[in-house]
């Protein structure tokens, strides 16, 4: 047997409808490598509601419950309750949702499930807008980005509000485990998913998943772009386990500009705009490092 960097097991079949270079496709492939076949997942409206294929075909090779937009977490809770009622303990229950389904319309159900300490793994594959419906802004769209509902015109109407932080919201719920991840770091993502699976209670991961169609980027650069997001600390990689922050410091640091210029969605931003954003990113990063210091176990 050839030794592979991530588990060899595949639980997504080829022939799915994901766009070329889709980060979300890689994200699910990796997550299901980590979790294995004894997993039941819920999928609300999102790209992954469509990409598995049309009835009677499905590229996902584990049981999937497709559900309404705002119900990924509540549905996962329902599946877990049924398994508990039947005494089936050794099955992972995964809620798999996009950023709109998680941080906008689904956040109430997510908050409820996490507050109840339901034993589920919730993974938000974050492509930073409503991509399945055609690139509309979500609360997870980063500041400065063009989307079809934050168009670029005379009034500089691109998204002017900062991205909502799913992981911080989850940390505020005193969740046992939450972390960011990025598809450009498969080993790290797989490890985090496996760690999540080993913990009883709610777990929340948010995996940055570059979207060539929505980010106006080259499909072949999806992995590079994810890497730049992490290296620029626009997308910091960190875990919060029982309130303790662990931050992964990038080996080399690049500027926001280096990251932004790989994507057409930031093309309209001027030097000054990018400078402003760089300041915010730096301040957020400093704050994150402080949290790490403050919460370190003595």
């Amino acid at each position: 047997m050839v030794k592979t960097p991530v588990p060899a097991e595949e639980n997504v079949a080829p022939g799915h409808m994901g766009c070329p270079g889709c980060g979300a496709c890689l994200a699910l492939r990796l997550a299901l490598k980590a979790l294995g076949k004894r997993t039941i997942m819920t999928v609300p409206a999102c790209c992954w509601a469509v990409m598995p294929g049309v009835f009677p075909y499905c590229s996902i090779q584990i049981p999937v419950l497709f559900t309404a937009f705002e119900t990924a977490a509540a549905s996962a809770s329902g599946v877990r309750a049924a398994l508990d009622a039947k005494g089936q303990k050794d099955i992972n229950v995964l809620a798999w949702a996009g950023d709109g389904g998680t941080l906008d319309i689904g956040i109430q159900a997510l908050s409820g499930a996490v507050e109840r300490r339901d034993n589920i793994i919730y993974i938000c594959y974050d492509n930073e807008a409503y991509m399945n419906t055609g690139i509309q802004r979500s609360s997870s769209t980063p500041i400065g980005a063009w989307t079809t509902t934050t168009p670029v015109g005379q009034t500089r109407a691109w998204k002017s509000e900062p991205k909502k932080s799913g992981v911080e919201i989850m940390a505020a719920h005193r969740i046992p485990y939450t972390a960011t991840a990025c598809v450009s770091y498969p080993e790290d993502f797989v490890k985090k998913v496996q760690k999540a699976a080993s913990i009883v209670g709610p777990k929340y991961l948010q995996v940055l998943s570059p979207c060539p169609a929505g980010w106006k980027s080259d499909p072949e650069r999806s992995i590079q772009i994810g890497r730049l997001a992490v290296e620029s600390t626009v997308w910091p990689m960190y875990e919060v386990e029982d309130g303790v922050y662990t931050v992964r410091k990038p080996a080399k640091k690049v500027s926001v500009k280096d990251y932004f210029r790989t994507q057409g969605r930031f093309r309209h931003l001027g030097e000054k705009d990018i400078e402003e954003i760089q300041k915010t990113v730096d301040a957020e990063w400093e704050l994150l490092l402080k949290k790490e210091t403050m919460t370190a176990r003595k």
């Binding site: 592979t4 022939g15 070329p20 492939r29 294929g53 009677p56 499909p219 072949e220």
Partner: protein, 94 residues
């Protein structure tokens, strides 16, 4: 598409799937560029395999390199971009 229903009588009671996509959906037809691998220069790091969003790279059983599943590869080019040995080339489709 052997098991396609013919009428409502053949359907399960709800839209519950029963077949995977690999036979029915040959997404290789989407390609405009195709990856061509030179296994003689392959470093066996399996980075191309690891990053493929379409499960379209197979590691050869003897571990001497990889092969592309052209039935499904959409030609995104991630493998060619990420290969540290630069042994995958994107070639225009005819």
């Amino acid at each position: 598409m052997s098991r396609q229903p013919r009428s409502y009588k053949d359907l399960p009671l709800a839209p519950i799937t029963y077949e995977d996509t690999r036979e029915a959906f040959k997404t290789g037809s989407w390609r405009t560029f195709k990856p061509v691998v030179d296994n003689s220069r392959c470093k066996k790091c399996w980075i191309c395999w690891k990053f493929c969003p379409d499960m379209s790279i197979r590691i050869l059983e003897d571990g001497t390199g990889v092969e592309i599943d052209y039935d499904h590869c959409k030609g995104c080019g991630i493998c060619a971009t990420e290969c540290p040995a630069r042994c995958i080339e994107m070639v225009p489709e005819d």
